[in-house]
């Protein structure tokens, strides 16, 4: 009996220490959405249960190992205890009840997360290798950044072009796959102004690791301001390069072709490309002029650039004028 009391006290002490330890480390990232509150509430209870159950098993094991260990020279067997049916029933039924309570809590918090605001802002999301594109249908804006107003529910209607992707902003907690051939929904109410990143969470090919996009949560006024700016940019983009830039964003070319000085692994960079010498897989070089770029956009396999596999580029339906506009845009990248 004495042993049971000591172990009981040790279990409780260890459980509390484990919980306090885990809690003070700061296990989760910043909580930046209303949905995260409900998830973190449940998570906290799970950490409580984990701390307790861990102690409940490990402490008696460790105690036994130390206190009842085999003394030197002792070759006798231990006490003959075959089992205890009451105990077995207890540790079947009690966990069963705990499990059902947790499942109920899980369903409850899932219900909270799915709570629908009929006035939610609708934004369309397109996922493709290896780029996120966001469309604001009411404003005619297409962007590679996701701007959201704070404290306002938004619903993302998400579509995948090629393979399965998954939309995850760790600070929002929620994750939803984006599947070809269907529209999936992601409902979130950001509640903390800040800069975050959407990170693709479903392996989608070679560039999966870099499939990230900026998420900006801002005050309503700043959000409106951004929308107005984007509309102005879209309206002003009547030049060939402006049109070309829109096409590039819309088709997600930037997912593989870098438009900045940092190259991407999956395709040749566009930065400083025009007029440069390009080395081909067969060892020859070619100048990246209008003819070469046109040919490479229309038929990527015609000339294989050294170090890249042209068969990964999906086919695009573009008019001659659109191709010329894209090239006009590429010329501006240096």
């Amino acid at each position: 009996m004495r042993h049971f009391v000591i172990v009981g006290i040790l279990v409780i002490v260890t459980a509390i220490l484990t919980y306090v330890g885990l809690d003070s480390v700061g296990l989760l990232p910043v909580e930046a959405s209303a949905q995260a509150v409900s998830i973190d509430w449940l998570w906290n209870w799970q950490v409580v249960a984990i701390s307790f159950l861990f102690s409940l098993i490990v402490v008696p094991m460790a105690y036994s190992l130390v206190v009842f260990r085999r003394r030197k020279g002792d070759t006798t067997d231990a006490e003959h205890i075959e089992g205890n049916t009451t105990l077995e029933i207890a540790w079947t039924v009690v966990p069963l009840i705990i499990v059902v309570i947790f499942a109920y809590m899980g369903a409850y918090s899932l219900g909270e997360i799915k709570r629908v605001d009929p006035d939610a802002v609708v934004i369309k999301v397109k996922a493709q290798q290896f780029q996120w594109t966001f469309e604001y249908p009411e404003y005619g804006i297409i962007s590679t950044e996701l701007h959201l107003p704070v404290n306002q529910q938004v619903v993302l209607k998400m579509e995948a072009v090629d393979v399965i992707h998954s939309f995850w902003v760790p600070e929002f907690r929620i994750k939803q796959d984006v599947v070809p051939g269907r529209v999936t929904e992601y409902r979130v109410t950001p509640n903390l102004v800040g800069l975050y990143k959407v990170r693709c969470a479903e392996l989608c090919g070679s560039g999966h690791a870099v499939m990230e996009g900026l998420v900006v949560v801002s005050e309503e006024v700043n959000y409106e301001k951004w929308l107005a700016e984007q509309q102005a940019i879209a309206a002003a983009a009547q030049t060939p390069e402006g049109q070309g830039k829109l096409l590039v964003v819309k088709n997600g070319c930037g997912g593989c072709h870098s438009i900045t000085s940092t190259p991407l692994p999956s395709a040749p960079t566009w930065f400083g490309l025009f007029g440069s010498n390009v080395e081909l897989a067969d060892g020859s070089t070619v100048v990246a002029d209008d003819a070469f770029l046109t040919e490479s956009i229309v038929d990527p396999t015609a000339k294989e650039v050294k170090g890249f596999s042209p068969s990964t580029m999906p086919p695009y339906v573009l008019t001659e004028e659109e191709v010329a506009n894209i090239i006009a845009y590429i010329k501006t990248l240096k």
């Binding site: 003959h80 075959e82 796959d177």
Partner: protein, 619 residues
Amino acid sequence: MKRFFSIPLVRGLVWFVVGLLAGAAIVTGIRAVMGLELFGTRGFTEPAWVFGGFVATLSFLAGHGVMSDWFKVWRGEEVSEHHEDPEGWLKYLGPSLDHKVIGIQYTITALLLLVVGGVFALIFRTELAFEGMQFLSMDQYNTLMSLHGMVMIVSILLGIAGLMNYLVPLLIGAQDMAFPRLNAFSYWIAVPAAILLLMSMPLGGVETGWTGYPPLSASLNKLGQQMFFLGVFVAGWSSILGGLNLIVTVVRMRAKGMVAFRMPIFAWASIATSLISLTATQLIGLSFQLVMFQRLFGMGFFDPAKGGNPVLFQHLFWFYSHPAVYVFILPGLGIISELLPVFARKPLFGYRWIAMSSLGIALVGFLVWAHHMFTSGMNEYLRVPFMYSTLLVAVPTGVKFFSWVGTIWRGKLQTSTPMLFVLGGIVVFLMGGLSGPPNATVSTDLHLHDTYWIVGHFHDTMFGGFVFPFFAALYFWFPKATGRRMNEKLGQLHFWLMTPSFFVLTLGMMRIGLLGMRRRIADYDPALGFEMSHIVLTIAAFLIALSVLIFLINLVQSIRNGEVATGNVWNSRSPEWQVPSPMPAHNYDQPFEVVGEPYDYGLAGSKYVEFIASAKSKH
């Protein structure tokens, strides 16, 4: 030279190459007649490689000789009941019918693949240590990461098959498995499977992870994907046939007096595992075969453009692949239950409850697969019932833990190497078990899914449920197989090096996973500040590898130079320890009868088995 080519394994490998070329040539010939393209970027075209791989598997088996008896029966010739195995190590390269030889073949192959998969992990782990890409391309990273997963899975399947093959007939007092020829076949088909799997590397690699989700796995720019699918498909046969054989053996061939509740607990665990591998493996074979056909014949099973459904694949895949994790862990948990009483010198606490909990886990395991798909876009209403069913698995698993603690409590514990690995296995598996329910609960899983948290959780379950008990079993039964003991000091070093490193590795994985580290990424955003953590994880991974290297050196050394141990080394009640080691070719010279409970340690004068002196066992 002639002697070299008379070794069955060598003959099989030669025939493998011949079959590969012949199969590819046939398809290329047909394509020539049809006016299709003859050669692809990797030599042959994709259909030619796939058919070549298929033919190679069959010609390996035929050339190796494992099917010779069946061919003889087919021709109406006599075959002898037993084969004489060649002397020495050569018998391990041939089609032996002895379950002990086959068990060792399985185990050695599992260890080889463990090394291969482990080296893959070390390579990409080193790449991850620092931000940015250092020496691998992202494609190569994906290939190594995917093959680490699948090679390890095959290794585990072969490892548990090794344990079950070697131990179950000994534990239940059978001369051999029920179908010795099928048993040899089940092992030898795994060899071409492993070769096909590894062939995916030179043939362009794999980029999907071990799960092989379409549409990514169906995109045609990676031929290696096809060899990956074919390899797993072939390996599945080994698992299905092995499961069948084991169930029949335990049901039909137990010693006199061994009623169900006097069976060794490992036999219960093996039955539970085999029930799953016999009935669920078909689904992974089927789902992979459908993707193969989508790639080869343009059938749009999972292609939305052709009316297919990518999420359907995930259902088919997880219907096997979730129960499969119970295939991996149940035998290991059986080992823990089997060894604890020996080293605690106490009966197994709640024997019947532990036996039933294995079956409980196996059965509930069939109803939980969609918890891998909470974020997949499947029907939202399915998520809640699958949350309930998944959390239920915690109940029989809990029964095991509590019963183990009951066994350890007041036990006179003695911590030689096998026991250390048993205790380590319990704690590691406990961490895997406790990090499970948050993933089973839908709302928290929305955050945890596809992060490094899951990677940490999974490695905890696999190490606690398989790797630790596997090592425990190898240290424990090594004297039975060889008549020598493994070095105790090196064994302790192995344990004390591996266990802390492993805690650092998986707890570190879970920590950064919670903070935003996704799984299966070749590089990570510097803004997250994970570099220091990854450096620590990489060092831990190398320490684990070092400890396994120490184990392997110990293993090889002890076969020749280990301390001679022919008696009942561990003072066990189990029948195989009542006869001298190493075990003779046809097991027990005299049959035994079960006269008591298997784990009645501490009950004076009790016995588990008694040998029947008068009757000579019939060979």
